[in-house]
């Protein structure tokens, strides 16, 4: 049953990418435990607005855990301390009266702060643009039943394909690595027969783009898996490494993929 709690928030406020930021302290009073974390921020923002102050800027959209817009580091945990939960799906019944919450934007040099809790995650789009798809044109695709896929492969591909691109894995990783993000897409597509023809090129392209963006490498901390709101497993990183290694051997033996280029940040 719903009750109300009050909390102290220490929120990162930053006017723009080149402005200095700082923590500001706010009180969130009489918050229903049935409210979501973002609804709690809405309430604080309403008060700030009525006091003539600027509300806290944060990205959000679907508020049902699927669009990947929202996210902040709460007391050191990306998306807060609940497992497999986006910030919008974190509810205040998971906190206690009197809690102090430190709320920060994603921490990564590849995700510059735009304002307050909003960061620029366009690097993730560029990684997908570099090759995170099956290059089929719209038109006369073969009948969907022409190519059976075992249920095991289809299910494993689906598990990986659930990634919402929120960037929590990067924020949680001590190295600021995007390996889980890249691994999820590489796994999804390399597990399916439709994805096989481009398998080696795809992994090469995506890893090169990932490196060019400045993401760190994986050194097996598993913080990404712990933070992932969709429960994407680090086993996918093992698969990514294997795919990448095989692709690299092939490149050395056969001289493939000379045409791969890295996308500039403006794309």
């Amino acid at each position: 049953m719903a009750k109300t709690i009050s909390l102290t928030l220490k929120v990162w406020r930053q006017k723009g990418p080149n402005e200095p930021g700082r923590f500001e302290t706010y009180e969130a009073r009489n918050i229903s435990t049935d409210a979501s974390f973002l609804e709690m921020l809405d309430i604080v923002n309403k008060e700030l607005t009525l006091q003539g102050k600027e509300p806290i800027a944060f990205d959000h959209d679907c508020r049902e855990g699927i669009c990947g817009s929202c996210g902040a580091v709460v007391n050191g945990h990306a998306h807060g301390h609940e497992r497999e939960t986006t910030l919008c799906q974190l509810h205040m019944r998971k906190f206690r009266d009197g809690d102090v919450l430190v709320i920060e934007p994603w921490r990564s040099r590849v995700f510059p702060v735009i304002k307050d809790l909003i960061v620029d995650r366009s690097a993730l789009d560029r990684i997908i643009a570099s090759g995170g798809y099956i290059s089929v044109r719209t038109g006369q695709a073969p009948d969907a039943h022409a190519l059976p896929v075992s249920k095991e492969h289809a299910d494993a591909a689906f598990e990986a394909a659930q990634c919402i691109g929120c960037g929590a894995c990067v924020a949680a990783c001590p190295n600021g690595s995007a390996m889980l993000f890249v691994a999820a897409k590489v796994s999804h597509l390399s597990l399916l027969p439709q994805g096989r023809p481009e398998r080696w090129r795809r992994v090469q392209k995506m890893v090169r783009q990932m490196d060019a963006e400045g993401f760190g490498a994986c050194s097996n901390h598993y913080e990404c898996e712990a933070a992932c709101p969709k429960g994407i497993r680090v086993a996918n990183i093992a698969r990514l490494n294997r795919e990448h290694l095989l692709a690299a051997f092939r490149a050395r033996l056969f001289g493939e993929y000379p045409d791969i280029k890295v996308l500039p940040p403006s794309v």
């Binding site: 918050i31 607005t49 009525l50 855990g65 643009a129 798809y133 719209t138 249920k151 299910d155 691109g165």
Partner: protein
């Protein structure tokens, strides 16, 4: 104004083939001379942009989110229909067509709906080729499930995340074209105006949501795929940024708005629980495959559901509609839920909820099977409500979810403004007065992958378009207007936040233009909405500045448009003196409470034309001609 639907001649089943055979083409060398602006990157926008780019057009794409992958199609849960007949249960293109047009209560254009059913199979093929991981059976072939309004299993799905997987497929196709250089992507842009030059749509003005700058873009055609307007109700299942602004500004530039009162209230959503609540969450209709809906037989029964014995439960959908049972269409299920709650049989703390009970299904199929089908939905429910659907029935209540109304388009998906194409939920075309489940994804992708790539060529090949650049007077004027509006919003410095006005508007519409409507209520709305709008422009408080990221200002602009749009919605609901699909006028019902359609007087599309801010809009009628089907009383009993 004569509304020409441009439906091709010939038998229904041959219209689209004939159109494609006779359509004018743009040669490959000429395609690269054209620039097409696509606004919105949901299923319709992303698929259209990717496909037009593959054909060789230069495409500029705009979206409100930080990435095109986040458009609200991502949240669609249950599935996508296709007439594959993989289940051997008697499905066919004709049957999907008939179910869809009947589901829409015979208020959709026959030829459009037939084409949609025809294309449904190509969509599944295309998505599988892209690597969309649909659910499969052990033999390696695709699985299907059932949805409301159909007696066959034709819905393809990826657990409860079908929209996500389809959108990521379309997003991949779009990013492929970004990589090839054929698409230029502009994220975090909100369209604020449509530019019409010599009667043709030639550009847009947008706000750069990071810098606050107003930017102008010119092209040879504009594609709007900006979704629906359920957020006019404030609380809906839509994403927070979903809004009416793009199509409303197009309306104010001369595009007709069709059937704005056709708004779908989805029967299975998590009930409202507090006044701080920011949105409602859907529980996929697919749950009605296995879940049974009931309320206690005794009024005001406050026992926990586990203590209410079988014989004291009223499975009211199974009782009232024995042949479709829990799988009646959405409008029927929603009204039935409202009826039992209004009569005092509702459950939960607010008594405005009914049970969706999976107990029998858990016993029949086991937990693993149900997890494969609905696992993510159970997780969402538990997070929001704090109760486990494994141990207690879910509580649900209807909520605004989808809007069938939208900008008027002809068979080519072009509005009455030449060069303005409208796709997906933003147009009015295929769902009539009620959309069946798993049909929205089908329509968005049919429009984007398979229809507009043909019709766009026909338009461009038959025009001589003068060069237009963003330094023209029309862009300057529109930019000035947008600037003044922004200044005005920031300068009011009143006492109420944007959200407070939005909530107030939403409640008014929910009470008087929601699941049930009547003349008195609607006439009252036509007085109250202008009053609320006036209060907004006198007393709204928008903090911050124009030339920076300002989310309060973004919201204010959208709510200002909702406050104008809501009046048109109420006007449309008032003028349509019949009940059809989701539009239930209490004055027009059968003795047992079903919708009473009036085909003699209202078998038309109501298309409204803007005449000025303080002038009543003009109504144009496109008669609906049924050559193939005979509109019958829509019975699911």
């Amino acid at each position: 104004m004569m509304l020409d639907s441009k439906v091709p001649a010939g038998p229904l089943a041959e219209k689209w083939s004939r159109y494609k055979a006779e359509v004018r083409l743009v040669s490959p060398a000429n395609k690269r001379k054209y620039t097409i602006l696509v606004v919105g990157t949901g299923l319709a926008g992303a698929s259209a942009a990717a496909t037009l780019a593959e054909l060789g057009y230069n495409v500029q794409v705009f979206c409100i989110q930080d990435s095109p992958r986040r458009a609200h199609s991502i949240a669609a849960q249950g599935g996508i229909n296709a007439a594959k007949n993989y289940q051997n249960d008697g499905d066919s293109v004709y049957r999907l067509f008939y179910d869809t047009i009947k589901g829409g209560d015979f208020r959709a254009r026959e030829a459009n709906v037939y084409r949609l059913a025809e294309l449904s199979c190509n969509i599944i093929d295309q998505c599988v080729a892209q690597g969309v991981p649909f659910a499969r059976e052990y033999g390696g072939l695709l699985d299907n499930r059932s949805f409301g309004g159909a007696q066959v299993s034709r819905t393809f799905y990826a657990r409860g995340q079908t929209g996500q997987q389809l959108l990521l497929g379309a997003y991949g196709a779009l990013m492929k074209e970004v990589n090839s250089g054929q698409v230029k992507m502009f994220p975090r842009r909100e369209m604020l105006d449509l530019i019409v030059v010599n009667g043709k749509a030639r550009g847009i003005v947008c706000r750069n949501l990071i810098t606050g700058a107003l930017e102008s873009y010119a092209g040879h055609a504009v594609v709007l795929a900006t979704g629906g307007y359920s957020n006019v109700f404030y609380l809906s299942t839509n994403a927070k940024a979903s809004n009416v602004t793009a199509i409303w500004r197009a309306y104010k530039r001369g595009a007709l708005m069709a059937n704005p009162c056709f708004t779908q209230i989805h029967p299975t959503c998590i009930p409202v629980h507090g006044d701080y609540q920011s949105k409602l969450t859907l529980m996929s209709e697919s749950l009605r495959n296995d879940g049974r809906i009931w309320v206690p037989k005794k009024k005001g029964d406050s026992r926990p559901p586990s203590e209410i014995p079988e014989e004291e439960r009223d499975y009211y959908l199974e009782r009232r509609y024995p042949s479709y049972g829990n799988l009646v269409p959405r409008d029927v299920a929603s009204r039935a839920a409202k009826a039992v709650c209004d009569a005092g049989y509702g459950v939960g703390p607010t008594k405005m909820a009914v049970y969706l009970d999976l107990r029998d299904a858990f016993e029949r199929l086991g937990r693993q099977t149900l997890d494969d089908l609905y696992g993510n939905l159970f997780a969402i429910y538990e997070k929001i409500v704090g109760e486990s659907p494994y141990s207690t029935p879910m509580m649900i209540y209807p909520a605004p979810h989808y809007t069938m109304g939208g900008l008027w388009v002809n068979y080519e998906l072009m509005s009455n403004l030449p060069g303005l194409f409208v796709l997906g939920e933003a147009n009015f075309s295929d769902h009539g007065a009620n959309r069946l489940g798993a049909s929205a994804l089908m329509q968005g992708l049919a429009d984007g992958y398979f229809i507009v790539p043909y019709t766009m060529g026909n338009y461009l090949a038959s025009q001589s378009l003068e060069p237009v650049t963003p330094d023209r007077e029309e862009f300057r004027q529109a930019t000035l207007l947008a600037e003044e509006r922004t200044k005005k919003l920031l300068s009011i410095k009143g006492k109420k936040t944007v959200d407070e006005f939005h909530r107030e508007l939403g409640l008014l519409l929910w009470d008087y233009c929601g699941m049930a409507r009547n003349r008195t209520g609607l006439e009252m709305l036509l007085k109250k909405i202008p009053e609320l709008r006036a209060a907004f422009w006198e007393n709204v408080l928008v903090p911050g500045e124009a030339e920076t990221l300002n989310q309060s200002l973004e919201k204010a602009g959208r709510v200002a448009d909702f406050l104008e749009f809501a009046e048109l919605m109420a006007r449309d609901a008032l003028h349509r003196e019949e009940s059809c699909g989701c539009h239930f006028r209490e004055e027009y019902q059968t003795p047992d409470g079903e919708a009473q359609r009036n085909d003699a007087e209202y078998a038309y599309v109501a298309a409204w034309e803007y005449q000025g801010d303080d002038v009543a809009p003009q109504l144009h009628k496109e008669p609906l001609v049924f050559e193939e089907v005979h509109p019958a009383a829509r019975s699911y009993k």
